[in-house]
Subunit: 136 residues, 3 copies
Amino acid sequence: MITQKEITLPAYGRGYHIITSIIEKHLPEKPDQGILHIFIKHTSAGLTINENADPSVRDDMESAMAAVVPEDNSRYTHTMEGSDDMPAHVKTSLTGMSLSIPVTRGRLNLGTWQGIFLCEFRNGRHQRKLVLTLYS
Amino acid sequence: MITQKEITLPAYGRGYHIITSIIEKHLPEKPDQGILHIFIKHTSAGLTINENADPSVRDDMESAMAAVVPEDNSRYTHTMEGSDDMPAHVKTSLTGMSLSIPVTRGRLNLGTWQGIFLCEFRNGRHQRKLVLTLYS
Amino acid sequence: MITQKEITLPAYGRGYHIITSIIEKHLPEKPDQGILHIFIKHTSAGLTINENADPSVRDDMESAMAAVVPEDNSRYTHTMEGSDDMPAHVKTSLTGMSLSIPVTRGRLNLGTWQGIFLCEFRNGRHQRKLVLTLYS
């Protein structure tokens, strides 16, 4: 069985944000076993799973990724949309635009320390659209 | 329902190439909702989704990834297949070898600016094999 | 049809380790076509697919990723768990925490050179938990 819905997240500023509870709220069915697929319909924001406990992990993820993909327009030709834009595209491809998470006994089967992150790579605040597809 | 097929892409040279229309052409069914899974059977070429409009994004992706994983044999021990080979392996793992894309009302449910990219990380031209699996 | 099981890998030390045969052994069904989804329930170890032949590729992957995400506590604020910890979180998000692999005629439909890697990003030896979900 497949159920699918599209949701719009609240506007988040640049950085890594835990959205696990938002996703759980939208989990339409509670199957005994299945997979939840989450897809972000954007090219400058990504999705990942990482440590849900210490907020410093989210801050360090942001600065570590800024070191991996420097915000320096002299490196890029696609510069019209601002110095944060092309690095945001690269970070999106490095981080990924979808997650597939096992669902077991009606719940996301995440590890103890795993949380779902929206990775907002652009400056400013943006409302990102997700497609949630549950197959069970 | 699951349908699966294997396809061979045209030969592409090094860089990022939009293959969205090739994938759409091979979408065998037009389900109301489902997921299309695309898997590349190679270790030095990847798949990603990124901006489909300005070709400079694809050029900058190539050069940005070359900066992340330098083509410098003094860094590697696996050097027999050329200076582009080991960086290609690393880039493949960073970028990913599969995509899962929601299908909604018979179409790939991509965002306005999202296109499917073949990322050819080797020099020379290569014909890459994909496995397409649609579940609906 | 969906079948799901949770397994614990043997303890592996830091580095990249081929686990293809372990995964194949746990493939519960031999469907004609399907997808095997593998999810790691941790935030400092990842999963990827890369070259299965020359062990030097695995060594170079480890050192290349150490260059991408330096182990240097002066760059991070989340430092209490050791200098390998925050880089391990970043590497996990860059590499990914799940794989989806086509199954065709009862077997993982991998390319000739593709193997499944556990990427242990922490120092020391750890037993990592995976959730395997097969849909067919």
